[in-house]
């Protein structure tokens, strides 16, 4: 039975699409057949981050409307086996996402994939609601700042009350916290919320902390999920995150400030 995972946050720009791309890529790298769907109809981005924007022919809305088959719309990733991308439509809006249509597409995907990752748009409107409605598990992406944390709190409330699991009285959606754009030294100085602060407010298990990193921007612009940049801290953090999701117990890295070396301190580099 396939597992449907929504990557959501409430707030925009916190790293949902980056997380969706790396998370789906990580699952596929570990041999799991994975599909990642862009629910951000009208503001398509996932294809760019995944580097497949030049191969989009049909999209999610085409499949919902019966204008294309799922196989025609799914884009096979060139770098990683077992990974498929279902892009969003850029010319439509979120109203094109009907509950029946989304359910039909997800059911069809369930037959051939182990994991279905739903990249949610920001906000709490139709697109976000459709992305989370059928979820079994949720990655809630948060930045260490108060507005992001509050919006994540809001989306957790919606997961608990408006998902299919809650409406059917099934076991609740399993929640995971992904704390992205974390800068340990700034948290130490009190400029940012610390990991503990965020955990205390949201009260859900921490799946991973992704450090603020130049590599994220670079890899986004070059269309490579950052998890494939194994030399980068962010890539390593996403790798750990996927392993933890699959049941490995790993300590959290990149959550304490790095000690500067003697020379670095002396010459003020860094």
């Amino acid at each position: 039975m396939a597992t449907i995972i929504v990557v959501t946050s409430g707030k925009g720009g916190v790293g949902k699409t980056t997380t969706s791309a790396s998370f789906a890529t990580g699952l596929a790298q570990r041999g799991h057949r994975t599909a990642v769907i862009d629910f951000d109809v009208g503001l398509r981005n996932l294809d760019l981050i995944m580097g497949c924007e030049r191969r989009v022919v049909y999209d999610f809305v085409n499949v919902i409307n019966g204008e294309a088959t799922l196989n025609q719309a799914l884009i096979r990733d060139k770098r990683v086996e077992n990974l498929h991308i279902l892009p969003a439509s850029q010319t439509r809006d979120k109203e094109a996402l009907t509950q029946e249509g989304v359910e039909r597409v997800l059911n069809e995907l369930r037959e051939s994939f182990e994991y279905i990752v739903c990249d949610s748009p920001a906000g709490i409107e139709k697109g976000a609601l459709m992305a989370l409605y059928f979820a079994d598990e949720a990655l809630v992406v948060t930045n260490p700042e108060v507005s992001s944390v509050r919006d994540s709190d809001r989306i957790l409330g919606i997961l608990a009350s408006r998902s299919r699991r809650s409406e059917h009285g099934d076991p609740p959606v399993k929640e995971h916290l992904v704390l992205a754009r974390y800068a340990p030294d700034r948290a130490d100085r009190g400029d940012m919320l610390s990991v503990e602060d965020v955990l205390e407010i949201l009260g859900i298990p921490l799946l991973g902390v992704i450090p603020e990193s130049q590599a994220v921007l670079q890899s986004s612009n070059s269309g490579v999920p950052v998890i494939l940049e194994s030399g980068s801290e962010a890539g390593a953090a996403y790798s750990d995150l996927v392993d933890r999701f699959l049941g490995k117990s790993l300590p959290h890295r990149f959550i304490t400030p790095q000690k500067k070396g003697f020379l670095k301190r002396l010459f003020g580099g860094g």
């Binding site: 809001r154 409330g157 919606i158 009350s161």
Partner: protein, 246 residues
């Protein structure tokens, strides 16, 4: 309903009989204690002076018969219709007839000049004196965190939350509000005006607390109470925050 009983004489008739429908006030009589009746009548009239001025009323004896019958069997009992008539007139009402009651009672009414009106078509099932029982309290226990944007309202009882109330969440109750986690959102107790309602929480970090509409916002909370377990109640129209007694 138009009931025309006309005499087709050449002369114009001195009167005409027509049926018509009226809305009448019905006075359901439950007991025969004259002083009690008088006291309640005065009270009612005081509530709405003018409303009962020359108001035609029908005296319904259904409830009375039942009570009397239950206590001492269905026997005729003294019922002073003249006295009752006078009493109602004194308070501005104009009795126009009676309804229900045993044959003996109906006979007495007729003798006092009060016609007996047909029984109400809708059988009023057990029109007993209104019982003064409190509605059952309905408390509610919430065993999950209350997230931003969620609102929980308990009518007619207490709200007990076992988790945290997040900023941007709102918890309301007609009764007390208990939060066994941190209270970071808004908590409103005694929403329908119960000044006896209390708010309890394990850590006061609220955006707003209110009891019976008297509220304090986050800014007005004392820094010594912030983050502490507290109990909040009303003194006059001001919420008072005290450390929670252990």
């Amino acid at each position: 309903m138009l009931l025309r009983a006309t005499h087709f004489d050449q002369d114009s008739a001195p009167f005409e009989l027509k049926g018509s429908l009226f809305t009448l006030t019905v006075l359901h009589l439950f007991q025969l204690d004259r002083s009690a009746i008088e006291r309640h009548l005065a009270e009612k009239v005081k509530q709405a002076p003018g409303f009962f001025k020359n108001t035609p009323v029908v005296i319904d004896l259904e409830g009375l018969v039942e009570l009397q019958g239950a206590r001492e069997g269905a026997v005729a009992f003294p019922l002073d219709f003249n006295g009752l008539y006078e009493l109602l007139r004194q308070h501005g009402m104009a009795p126009v007839g009676i309804r229900n009651g045993s044959p003996e009672v109906q006979k007495a009414a007729s003798q006092a000049g009060l016609p007996v009106l047909p029984e109400s078509r809708v059988v009023s099932a057990g029109k007993k004196p209104p019982e003064r029982s409190e509605p059952p309290t309905r408390n509610r226990v919430i065993n999950h965190p209350v997230r931003s944007g969620q609102q929980i309202y308990v009518t007619g009882g207490d709200l007990i939350i076992l988790g945290t109330v997040s900023p941007g969440a709102e918890v309301l109750a007609d009764g007390n509000v208990h939060v066994y986690g941190s209270l970071r959102g808004r908590a409103l107790a005694g929403v329908k005006g119960d000044v006896q309602a209390w708010i309890f929480c394990q850590s006061l970090e609220a955006e707003l607390i209110s009891i019976a509409g008297c509220y304090l916002i986050s800014e007005q909370l004392d820094s010594t109470e912030r983050g502490k377990p507290v109990q909040i109640h009303l003194a006059g129209d001001r919420p008072v925050i005290e450390p929670l007694l252990r």
